[in-house]
């Protein structure tokens, strides 16, 4: 690309000036990780405009993408400047991915900024990449930032749970309420959406969810999230209920602001990011030790029975820590 030749500061400057191509480039830097990403973090931290982060999750086929498209259109109509991060799994075998969520987001969302993110195999990758991407979008003036994930798999659920407002989408007639419960989606929901509400089973699903929410009152979950999650009925195809959903999201934001909870959620996100960064560094560090002569010696000793695995782990950690000081 033309901007390959530019250095990071130039790209940051262009991105801050609103150039979408530069924003796209910075997102790649953040996603890739490594030294350049670290420099980017340093350049952008503190420039945060503190955008509202909205997580939207639900099972495949629940019409999430169309819903997200509609939601961004509603947000844009109310004067906001939304962006979307659409997260999809990479193939564990090849590392490749087919990212197709934006087709439906584009068609209903108009000129919204959408970035598709593959989970990429590496450990904790998303836990660094997504906060990095949020930082880029936040600093370059997007608000709200909507993160769409498939509500299956712990990583995806965790990502959605990181948001200020987490929206869980379910579909009538598919046993979604039960599935959502099993997947742990009930615990993370600030707002429920019953999409395809024109289907006859929509009311039954709403009642299922209400019953589960009655239970969450008992378990104390409701107190933890700060309120009982409202249930919004939508039809993403026609757009019915989208304005109401947008209003619920805004209301939730106000509620969080009023109770200082938004800062708390941001702090939790930052903490999770730091944890992931630390874990990543330790991972790389120990991998380097394994490849060193000390690591090979420890493994040989382990194989011959001279030391046990716990002792080997201590040696690796000591070596790694020592190399930090050097």
């Amino acid at each position: 690309m033309t901007q390959r030749g530019l250095d990071l500061d130039d790209i940051v400057e262009r991105a801050l000036g609103g150039q979408r191509r530069a924003v796209g480039r910075l997102l790649s830097v953040a996603e890739r990780g490594g030294a350049e990403a670290d420099r980017l973090t340093a350049a952008l931290h503190g420039r945060s405009a503190r955008a509202h982060i909205v997580g939207i999750t639900g099972p495949p086929g629940s019409g999430k993408s169309t819903l997200v498209g509609r939601l961004t259109a509603a947000a844009a109509a109310s004067g906001a400047n939304p962006a979307v991060l659409a997260v999809d799994p990479s193939s564990p075998l090849t590392g490749g991915a087919i990212l197709g969520d934006r087709i439906r987001i584009d068609r209903t969302g108009g000129d919204v900024f959408v970035r598709s993110i593959a989970t990429r195999g590496h450990a904790g990758g998303l836990a660094v990449a997504v906060p990095g991407a949020i930082r880029v979008l936040d600093a370059t003036g997007f608000d709200p930032i909507i993160i769409e994930t498939v509500g299956v798999g712990q990583v995806e659920v965790d990502i959605a749970a990181m948001a200020d407002t987490t929206v869980v989408v379910a579909n009538p007639g598919t046993g979604d309420a039960v599935q959502a419960n099993k997947a742990g989606l009930l615990e993370i929901a600030d707002i429920f959406v019953v999409n395809k509400a024109d289907l006859p089973e929509a009311e039954a699903l709403r009642l299922d969810l209400e019953r589960m929410l009655d239970l969450s009152h008992v378990t104390g979950h409701e107190a933890y999230r700060g309120r009982r999650a409202p249930i919004v009925l939508t039809e993403s195809l026609s757009g019915t209920g989208i304005d109401e959903l947008w209003t619920e999201i805004i209301d939730h934001r106000s509620l969080l602001d009023a109770s200082n909870a938004r800062q708390l959620r941001q702090l939790l996100r930052l903490r999770a990011e730091v944890e992931a960064l630390v874990a990543g560094r330790i991972h790389r560090l120990t991998r380097a030790v394994f490849d060193s002569s000390a690591g090979e010696r420890a493994l040989a000793d382990l194989a011959s029975g001279r030391i046990d695995p716990v002792a080997a782990a201590e040696i690796i950690l000591d070596e790694g820590t020592a190399s930090l000081g050097s």
């Binding site: 690309m1 033309t2 390959r4 979408r20 191509r21 924003v23 796209g24 480039r25 997102l27 790649s28 996603e31 890739r32 990780g33 490594g34 030294a35 350049e36 990403a37 670290d38 420099r39 990479s90 193939s91 075998l93 090849t94 590392g95 490749g96 991915a97 087919i98 990212l99 197709g100 934006r102 087709i103 584009d106 000129d111 900024f113 959408v114 970035r115 598709s116 593959a118 990429r120 590496h122 960064l277 990543g280 560094r281 790389r284 930090l324």
Partner: protein, 139 residues
């Protein structure tokens, strides 16, 4: 301490689309899977895309290449339009065209800046090689 540089090169990001009305997406879908299985990240736009939308997507997704599939006469007008629109936006992203392209049209498409042309039934190796070398030869 600053983190060490990432050890792996990131996957190629390829935007795949069909422009206009043509609904023959069998080839595009096969290529999407071939590229995924070769470790690429495919941003799949599918059917009925406009040239302008593809440009916007390439910017937002920071894509390394654009793959277009063509199954009717549109290739002679649409593929050059796609190349031009990218260049007008200041992008030198390579455009690879696949599908049913008569031999006589290959040279005009190359002249128009299309980086590679793949015939029907191109093998996985050919597809991946075409995309990689198009990206590698982009300055």
């Amino acid at each position: 301490m600053s983190g060490p540089p990432s050890s792996e090169t990131p996957p190629l990001r390829v935007v795949l689309a069909k422009l206009g009305f043509d609904g023959h997406d069998r080839g595009l879908r096969v290529v999407a899977r071939l590229l995924r299985d070769a470790g690429c990240e495919v941003i799949y736009l599918g059917l009925r895309q406009s040239v302008d939308n593809v440009v916007a997507v390439v910017e937002q997704e920071d894509a390394d290449a654009v793959g277009l599939s063509m199954h009717n006469a549109g290739h002679l007008t649409l593929a050059p339009k796609m190349v031009q629109a990218l260049r007008d936006a200041g992008l030198d992203t390579p455009v690879v065209v696949g599908g049913i392209i008569p031999d006589v049209d290959v040279e005009p498409l190359r002249q128009a800046g299309v980086a590679a042309i793949l015939g029907p039934g191109a093998s996985a190796e050919e597809v991946v090689h075409a995309v990689r070398s198009a990206v590698d030869s982009t300055p």
